[in-house]
Amino acid sequence: MLLVEIEISDPSKYVSDAKVDEIALAYNQAYRERGQNKAGFPVDMERFVDLLEVSMLWEEIEEPYEAVFLASYTPDNGGLITINERHRRLFEERPDVYSSCLGHEVGHRVLRHHEHSAFSSEPPSLFSELAVVQRVFHKSSWSQYGLTKEEVMKRKLMEQEIAKKAIVSEQARQILAQLHNRFEPEWMFWQAEHFSLCLQVPKDRLLELLEDGWDYASWRGIYRLGEHFVVSGSMMRRRLTKLKLIKVGDDGQPHAIQQTSQENLFN
């Protein structure tokens, strides 16, 4: 079991990115101390899941119309991550996506999202008369795992379209209720996502490299950093952006952010 000495506050959308980063770092350091990987990266996510004593299961997960579920986390029996067998090929071809997906589900577990009231009681719903599908929360791949902004937009439009039809169509109501029931709220999604990224790119290791003069103000340097941490270039960009180390200018190029508070990061 991984033991960490860090307070994890009750699940809330107000838990800051910095706090999530701090929690992920504590877990990464505990992982290193277990002798699995002294550097702390790349994290062998399957081993990490074992160290958390969470079970893992490959199984087909039913997907509602036009929705994609990569994996789910349920807290029953000490925790279970179910990976959707339907996307096995994607996971085999893209181990980085697989790692991030497991990291995301681990994030739900560590941040105790299942304890949030969103999962213990039903929110007010126009369609409350409908039978409630067992609430599990899933990794929805429509955000950044290989799907374009257009595809994300398409899903959102689809949902709006269904909402309009729901007024008159029982089937549409059911689809919408299913979508709402089975996707985690956005803030949970992004917190789990941020946790996954912070776990895979531990802050202390990243800052050590930057302090040593690693180039992070060019796409080439950022993609090389990504390769170093075994994450995609776009994930590396997100990590640096969240840490307020870079911003992408109007010229489409990354620029290092010069600010006094940044100096504190290296102290």
Binding site: E46, R47, D50, S55, M56, L57, W58, E59
Partner: protein
């Protein structure tokens, strides 16, 4: 009853031993040439049928299990040790042995220990087939 005393399913037993050995599902599955997703379902008790003795033996070997751990896996799968199974077959043909088998579970652990020592000394002079202390 404490959680420790609860009877674990085959999957739970397998998972407990595998984690203690610090091996991942994928590593064990690869070692026994089993698909890792199938292995994960085995570990989560997703099958109606019990794993075969052969499968359990392969898994136990891949995880470098002790005789005790192997027997734990067999017992959790509702299967008994091969030697015990052989002895049970012999008991079916030998009423005395069958009576002995039936009475043994009624004895206390101390009595069983005593009896075991007695049997051991009886067998000391005789070459005997592979025996496992349970």
């Amino acid at each position: 009853m404490t959680r420790q005393n609860e009877k674990l399913s085959f999957g739970q037993t397998l998972q407990k031993i595998r984690r203690a050995k610090e091996k991942t599902q994928r590593e064990v599955a690869r070692a026994i040439e089993m698909d890792f997703s199938y292995f994960s379902r085995l570990e989560n008790d997703r099958f109606d049928s019990r794993p075969t003795r052969e499968t359990i033996d392969k898994i136990a070997t891949a995880m470098a299990c002790t005789a005790e751990e192997r027997n734990e896996l067999l017992a959790a799968a509702g299967r008994i040790d091969e030697d015990v199974e052989k002895a049970a077959k012999q008991a079916a043909e030998n009423p005395k042995l069958a009576d002995l088998f039936r009475s043994l579970p009624q004895l206390s652990n101390e009595k069983l220990e005593e009896l075991w020592k007695q049997v051991q000394s009886e067998l000391e002079d005789k070459p005997r087939p592979k025996q496992r202390r349970r």
